[in-house]
Symmetry: C2
Subunit: 115 residues, 2 copies
């Protein structure tokens, strides 16, 4: 198990961010981490919306978010502590994350009006 890689904020690119968040599962994960400030572990997301996500896929999703510079992950014993890097990212690309999270929130509101 190689140590977790986190890009420095100057190496974070818009395209990587957009690509990472263009997947609804990853967007949901990120929204949740952003909403809670800190979320324990991948297993929290074994189910997103309707779908069951296998843990190998979850691990990859977290890696993509990490590589894109969107989250910071830290091992705490057996589990993972994930936090967003919203502060840094927002300093570099002002308003970007807020607009995206907002758009997803609006979207969800339309999708499930009577849920």
């Amino acid at each position: 198990m190689r140590p977790l890689f986190h890009p420095s904020i100057e190496d974070v690119s818009v395209e990587a961010i957009l690509h990472a968040l263009s997947d609804p599962v990853r967007a949901a994960i990120f929204a949740q981490v952003a909403g809670q400030g800190c979320v324990q572990g991948c297993t929290t997301f074994s189910r997103v919306g309707e779908r069951d996500i296998p843990k190998s896929s979850l691990s990859q999703h977290f890696k993509v978010l990490r590589d894109a510079g969107l989250i910071h992950s830290e091992r705490h014993g057996v589990e993972m502590r994930n936090t967003t890097r919203c502060g840094e990212v927002d300093a570099r690309f002002p308003g970007l994350l807020a607009a995206i999270l907002n758009a997803y929130a609006d979207n969800k509101a339309c999708d499930t009006p009577q849920a």
Copy 2:
């Protein structure tokens, strides 16, 4: 040649938009169309940055932007008239496009400080 398809604005999704704009070539095309209001034709983009883009790829890129609801294309004789759908998209997802275009602009400024 099947007629050009444009999704209605309610069918436009955040993920499709982010996916479309997560490609730097498409982002450049879209930024240009957005900047000019109207751009004639794909061939305008035979070169983006350093890269030569074959026209079959350009055609695909335009299709992705169209399917994502970002641009409107109309045949005028032999060539194509492309316009953005920023207005509609911005009404649906306020601030999203502006934030993304801004982020790309910032990014480019960093990439080429002495060009």
